[in-house]
Amino acid sequence: MTNQDILYKLPYSKPFLFVDEIISIDENGVEGTYTFDENLDFYSGHFKDNPVTPGVILTEVMSQIGLVCLGILLLNESLNKNIAIALTSTDIEFLKPVFPKEKVTVFSEKIYFRFGKLKCKVIMKNEKGEEVCTGIIAGMIISK
């Protein structure tokens, strides 16, 4: 499966697709990027006259790149219309603010993939290479 195949299989679309590029991916982890479009709707309200990317959106970016892209690779052939990947837990620390137009890189390392549950250690860095958030994210395969 190519990186492009994985992007194509992501179950998201605008305005809730938060993966631009997969830099590298294998069964043990993934690295990918996303650039925050300044026209994203939430910036007009978070905060008033002071746009900062909400923590829930940073968490979503980390989940889409770090968990869902890797989950698609790991499930490979067994992925079909009858199953979905559901987020089950997040434990994230937010270290620095992320502003509109910033490009972030997400690094995810598989802790385990057992009994349909994928748990990863995920780090997001900004263009200066500074860690902006780190944590543990887990998801599970569910039958629809």
């Binding site: 089950t88 837990s89 385990y112 057992r114 009994f115 349909g116 549950k117 887990a138 599970m140």
Partner: protein, 85 residues
Amino acid sequence: MNKEQTIAELKNIVKPYIANQEAFDTLTEDTDFINDLKINSANLVDVILDIEEKYDIIIDNEAMERMINVKAALEIIETKLSEKM
């Protein structure tokens, strides 16, 4: 394998994941992980992996599906430990 001791060890393992303190305090062999202790299915995977680590055993999918209560967990741990002998 000492049953009382293993139950005490199991209690220690499930403790971080339980959502029903009363069922935990009165835990017996018949206590069900999901229905009584209210451990969610995602966290049950962590319970199983913690059991694997604690007893240095491998729990397969078939055993995982059977591990619904304390009694089943004790049986599976005992079986897997005896297979190692």
